[in-house]
């Protein structure tokens, strides 16, 4: 199953971990000094927050797919006039192995 991915930039990671853990009713699945990540099933989302990436806000959206074939299929479709995403940068990534393709706004 595909999963929405969203990465946001925050100024205070500890505060962000507290907020999103409450919102998702779930602790981060992994975290470091400057990032935390939640994998939530309901609602289905891979949500990341990090510091040190400039102004706070949404950094990029993503579509996490299960296989390299799915990624390649989307990559083939998003060609030509569809190459750039409207309004927001999107990336498509495969869960394992870590391969990603970016579609900049």
């Amino acid at each position: 199953m595909k999963r929405l991915h969203l990465h946001v930039s925050v100024s205070d990671l500890a505060k962000a971990v507290g907020f999103y853990s409450g919102l998702f009713n779930s602790r981060p699945c992994c975290a470091g000094n400057n990032f935390a990540n939640w994998r939530v099933n309901e609602p289905a989302i891979n949500f990341g927050a990090s510091t040190g990436h400039g102004p706070r806000g949404a950094m990029h959206f993503g579509l996490e797919v299960d296989t390299t074939e799915e990624l390649q299929k989307i990559d083939r479709v998003l060609q030509g006039p569809l190459r750039s995403s409207p309004a927001l940068p999107w990336e498509v990534s495969v869960k394992k192995p870590a391969i990603r393709k970016e579609f900049a706004s």
């Binding site: 199953m1 595909k2 999963r3 929405l4 969203l6 946001v8 930039s9 925050v10 100024s11 205070d12 500890a14 505060k15 962000a16 971990v17 507290g18 907020f19 999103y20 853990s21 409450g22 919102l23 998702f24 009713n25 779930s26 602790r27 981060p28 699945c29 992994c30 975290a31 470091g32 935390a36 939640w38 994998r39 939530v40 099933n41 309901e42 609602p43 289905a44 989302i45 927050a49 706070r56 806000g57 949404a58 959206f61 579509l63 996490e64 989307i74 479709v77 998003l78 006039p81 569809l82 995403s85 409207p86 309004a87 927001l88 999107w90 498509v92 579609f103 706004s105």
Partner: protein
Amino acid sequence: MKRMHVHVSVKDIGNAVGFYSALFATKPSVVKDDYAKWMLDDPRMNFAISTRGREPGLDHLDIQVESQTELHEVYARLKSAGGTVIEQGATACCYAKSEKSWIDDPAGISWETFHTTGENISYGDGSGENEARVAHTKACCVPSAAKPAVETAPSCSTACATA
């Protein structure tokens, strides 16, 4: 089942419908002159675009629920998350009639939680709420009584158990 909702402000509905229809490999379930929506099962998501925002970009995020029970459960989550929760109540926006509440996250992004009870013939005026609380002023739906988020007391300091 709860579902992520993303609302993105775009300049050109036609161009954006083309991109997102390709990305999701699905045509939108609703298309208007100023709005389009995809109700997806894989990924499970309600993705909407509109030209109602002042500038292109993320308008707001949301946890959409399917019942009053789930709505009150997510309301409790908002309170647990910390910050100022704005209970909008019944409203008409985005061609739908809904009950919703709002909160700002630490990235400055507006999150709503809502339960839709029916369609609305027009885009709706958000019951009078207009003020932005994120990157730009929205044309609809966001309550104006925004205040800075209240500090929470986070306790998760290290990498936690895997989900």
